[in-house]
């Protein structure tokens, strides 16, 4: 039976490069996917593009391709990446330049666009489409209309598939669904029809398992304590068979592990309703999936099915929403908790005295309750050696947010005895809030452009 091996080279902007290089060199793969986009990323990239129309792709695209392309083109491994971000065209031009410098002359780049609907929002709203907020239930985007910085739809695999059919060995896209990076090669290699819902469901499921890089092979794992060499990380490979089954594995000799547990951990991750995992290419149904470890570091996945794809695409709108100022300082034994409360009281009073317009404020006692909040077991005061006091404040203006770090630094000399560990606090950051919504699929046509080096 025909099989192909697909590797995952990245799960986010800032993911590790060397496990991806290891996959290309030793993974015996035919495809590798690189996801660099989280929900917020497009807003950051769009602002970069606003400042300089030549930017707006993930800056890592260039060093990553420099590390990957010489080997991938030599071995015939095809690369799919969404690092085009807010500007896939310019990203592709830069990669083409790089390829020439590297002496690569066999690169066919498919550039996929169409996910960016920001310029078309007024036209879309004129059609009577209200873009209701899925988180808050707000019906209409009027309130935020003049603060929007980005609006990108999560597109599926169609134009990527077309790129592969036209001979592309590198596909650069913007905001496609993460798993479309893997759905496209499976549909291309096996000739699966894009309306064969069980096969598309299987492709989406396989994409989901590997798209988070180390997430299915020992990253974020409950079994972290079994890892013998923490510094050795592995990225996963899906060995996919024509019948829609697959084996999840990793490169020979790579670190970490692939077990039924590590694959299961990722199957249950961020999926909402397991019978209806909604993606642009299909609705995957996880309710009949079986996992079986057939050899060491090889887990067979069977029973994937799917249903007709949704008529709408997820649309993520980012809008400017004020500023956050935050800072930290440490207090120590004895009476660490009492000293932390003193610091909190100092800061609340100082902010009031200075007339800060505060929309939201939060204190965390790091080491005591900053992660699990009110459910934390608070230790006996005598057992607390130190507390790191953190304050975070949401304001309308950068100036107000900037005052937060100055006041926290004052605790060094105006706080309780032993207050210390002042670090250079982060500058205020502008908040981009997200407005998740849905958009009819037919309003988001995608486009493929081919570029040859």
């Amino acid at each position: 039976m025909k099989k192909i091996r697909l590797g995952c080279g990245s799960a986010s902007w800032g993911d590790m490069l060397d496990p991806a290089v290891e996959l290309v060199e030793k993974g015996d793969i035919q495809y590798i996917g690189f996801d660099h986009l989280a929900e917020l990323t497009l807003s950051i990239l769009q602002r970069m593009k606003n400042k300089n129309p030549k930017r707006g792709y993930i800056p890592d695209l260039i060093p990553w391709m420099k590390a990957i392309l010489p080997t991938s083109t030599k071995k015939g491994i095809k690369v799919l990446t969404n690092a085009g971000g807010a500007n896939p065209e310019e990203g592709a031009q830069e990669v083409a330049k790089l390829a020439k410098e590297l002496g690569i002359h066999s690169l066919k780049i498919g550039v996929v666009t169409g996910d960016d609907v920001f310029p078309r929002l007024p036209e879309i709203r004129k059609k009577g489409i209200k873009l209701k907020n899925l988180d808050t239930g707000e019906e209409d985007i009027d309130r935020i209309a003049d603060k929007i910085v980005a609006a990108n739809a999560y597109i599926g695999s169609e134009s990527m598939l077309e790129a592969l059919q036209k001979g592309a060995n590198l596909v650069i896209t913007g905001r496609n669904t993460d798993n479309a990076l893997y759905v496209a090669p499976m549909a291309y290699e096996f000739g699966w029809a894009l309306n064969d819902w069980d096969k598309m469901g299987a492709a989406v499921t396989i994409g989901h398992i590997i798209e988070c890089s180390a997430g299915c092979c020992g990253g974020m794992s409950n079994f972290w304590f079994q890892v013998k060499e923490p510094w050795r990380v592995a990225f996963p490979i899906a060995e996919v068979y024509e019948n829609g089954e697959c084996i999840i594995t990793k490169a020979e000799g790579a670190g970490r592990m692939v077990t039924e547990w590590t694959v299961k951990e990722h199957l249950v991750y961020e999926i909402h309703d397991p019978k209806n995992y909604l993606m642009a290419d299909a609705i995957a149904d996880f309710s009949n999936i079986r996992l079986k470890e057939v050899e060491k570091d090889r887990v067979k996945v069977t029973g994937m099915t799917g249903k007709r794809r949704p008529d709408t695409l997820k649309l993520c709108i980012g809008y400017e929403d004020g500023w956050i100022g935050e800072s930290e300082i440490s207090v120590c034994w004895p009476d660490a908790i009492e000293k932390a409360r003193f610091c909190e009281s100092f800061l609340r009073g100082r902010f009031k005295h200075l007339g800060l317009k505060i929309n939201e404020i939060r204190f965390d006692y790091i080491g005591v309750n900053s992660i699990h909040g009110s459910l934390s077991d608070v230790p006996h005061p005598d057992e607390v050696n130190e507390v790191r006091v953190r304050v975070a404040v949401k304001t309308d203006t950068e100036a107000d947010a900037g005052k937060v770090r100055r006041e926290v630094t004052h605790l060094w000399t105006h706080g309780p005895v032993g207050t210390t560990a002042v670090i250079s606090p982060p500058p205020p950051r502008q908040v981009v809030s997200l407005w998740p919504t849905l958009i009819p699929r037919e309003l988001v046509p995608t486009k493929l452009t081919m570029l040859e080096v």
């Binding site: 929900e39 459910l375 997200l434």
Partner: protein, 106 residues
């Protein structure tokens, strides 16, 4: 009857989608799955998270994987990009669920 903490019989992994926290709760074996399926209801999870989860809690069953999926709405301070909280993407919410106490047969 005895009182046990969920961490003794289950693993968890959690993440986010906007202001929604998603938890996959994986029973350690078949017997443990029967227990969590009976005891760890959406209502119980909502009560467990007290002031932390402001919205509704939904539960989905995955009998084939001995797992339950929980969807916690309005649970991440507005979502990763705007929250003042430290667990911006809800990676630690699943561990917090494992603190839950349940009563089981001896």
């Amino acid at each position: 009857m005895k009182r046990i903490q969920l961490r003794e019989i289950a693993y968890a992994r959690s993440g986010d989608k906007g202001d929604v926290s998603d938890i996959g709760l994986m029973a350690k074996d078949d017997a443990a799955y029967k227990v969590i399926k009976e005891k760890v209801t959406a209502q119980k999870v909502k009560e467990h998270f007290k002031d932390i989860v402001k919205g509704e809690v939904l539960r989905y069953e995955m009998d084939n994987l001995n797992s339950l999926e929980f969807v916690l709405r309005n649970a991440l301070g507005g979502g990763a990009t705007r929250t003042l909280g430290m667990d911006q993407t809800g990676k630690a919410v699943g561990q917090n669920l494992l603190r839950m106490y349940i009563e089981i047969e001896d």
